[in-house]
Amino acid sequence: MIQAFHVYKQYDRESVALSDITLHVEKGEFCFLTGPSGAGKTTFLKLVFREELPSQGQILVGGRNVTAIPEAQIPELRRSIGVVFQDFKLLKRKTILENVAFVLRILAVPHKEQKRRAFNALKAVGLHHKMHAYPMQLSGGEQQRVAIARALINEPMLLLADEPTGNLDPGMAQEIMTLFQEVNARGTTVLVATHDREMIQRMGKRVITIQRGRVNE
């Protein structure tokens, strides 16, 4: 599903965020990307859904070279990938129901179906009773769950989650991991960036470690 070949990323001249990353994530796999803060986990995820371009190297997602696709095809790529952003990235002027439904809205899904599926997605993360609230009225953990609901609503072929349990208490974190496992069982490839060692051990999945921008498997 993800094939990275000798990927380098340099944001500015002084520092290198990623250096000679070569890694593969198989279709249907569930694996963790870990490493200390500043290691380059977020940067790698950004390269996968083409928020950033690598300075060197190639990345293939679902067989497509995302480093070479034209600008016009980026939306299509992103629609096939669910992303849970580290900083949630919710639309603050829209209710959380509208936030989750937005993904379907840009696909021109009929209005009623948007609502129904968005409601179900919120229900899966236990927030359906707050669907008319705005992001700012929710706690960090609740916003994170909204971000998770949005990432999952369209059953993406690939789920990228950047520290998805960082703001959750252990009980809720475990629930979210169970949710990810269910999604994975339905065929979605899952890549979770986290530095939560305890959770990684509990899950017993494959772990890719990056340290100072290099893979250390």
Partner: protein
């Protein structure tokens, strides 16, 4: 269907955004409104003047004053040559007595004046009305030149000069309106593009998020384009309302008071009203495209 749904979304978002920052939007709508009003006012004056010119040219009259004591034979020759000219619609010969009678009928208070002069001061004349299609200044000039040197013709009188002056005035008003309107339209585009740019800046985060979850550039830009067009269109409506009110004021309070033009009904062409609103939308479209072109969205 998806296209319709996207458009509905654009309009909904645009309306929400217009309402959310209604103060600054009122400012830009007002600017456009005033600009289009000025342009529209010039065009209205031009088309009203034009209507006057048309009405006048419809009854263009050329009068040939004949020499004193002219032989009837020469007059009849002139009449038959005139009748053969393609520009002539009707031909009426006015005798000296008939001219005097007409003067007395028209100017009641002055009816004794010719008597004081002891002799009828009016010459004999031939009055020509010009056919439709021969009323252009060029054609009338041709006609008059062909006959003014004919035997028996003392003097020719016609309205051409006035028609030319009015036609020039119409062109001037229209040109002035065009130039001024053009400048103001540019100012409007500038205003709209800046207002839209402020909105884009204020919402840059949201737009980035939309792009990150897979919205196309067109989808993210759509609401702003619609917003610009709505601003422009509303500006157009403001301009039409101002024009309509202004015309009513002019027609009722100014023209009714002066007998001079009282009968010449002042009007605003319907096409002009539509053109102003559409023009406003075009200005808005250009304005939002300019601001989006410069932005990161």
């Amino acid at each position: 269907m998806p296209v319709f749904r996207a458009l509905a979304y654009f309009v909904q978002e645009a309306l929400t955004s217009l309402w959310r920052s209604r103060l600054i939007n009122a400012l830009s709508i007002g600017t456009i409104g005033v600009s289009l009003f000025v342009l529209g006012a010039f065009l209205t004056v031009a088309s009203n003047l034009n209507a006057v010119v048309t009405r006048w040219t419809e009854k263009v009259q050329v009068t040939f004053y004949l020499e004193d004591g002219l032989e009837p034979r020469i007059r009849e020759m002139l009449e038959s040559r005139l009748k053969d000219d393609p520009a002539v619609e009707t031909l009426t010969t006015i005798s000296r007595q008939a001219a005097l009678d007409r003067f007395r009928a028209l100017f009641h208070d002055l009816r004794t004046l010719p008597d004081d002069l002891a002799e009828n001061p009016f010459p004999e004349s031939i009055e020509i009305t010009v056919k439709n299609g021969h009323q252009s200044p060029e054609e009338i000039t041709r006609f008059v030149t062909a006959f003014e040197k004919s035997p028996g013709v003392e003097e020719v009188q016609y309205d051409l000069l006035w028609i030319q002056r009015l036609t020039t005035a119409v062109r001037l008003v229209r040109g002035l309106g065009g130039v001024l309107g053009g400048i103001l339209a540019l100012a409007s585009i500038f205003t709209i593009s800046n207002v839209i740019r402020l909105t884009v800046y204020a919402r840059q985060d949201e737009l980035d998020i939309m792009r990150l979850v897979g919205a196309t550039r067109a989808y993210v830009r759509g609401p702003f384009i619609v917003e610009g067009m709505l601003q422009g269109g509303l500006g157009g409506v403001v301009a039409v309302a101002l024009l309509w009110g202004g015309l009513r004021f002019v027609a009722r309070d100014l023209l009714a008071a002066s007998e001079l033009l009282g009968r010449a009904a002042i009007f605003m062409p319907t096409e002009l009203a539509f053109a102003i609103v559409l023009g406003g939308m075009a200005v808005g479209l250009v304005g939002s495209l300019v601001s989006l072109g410069r932005s990161q969205v």
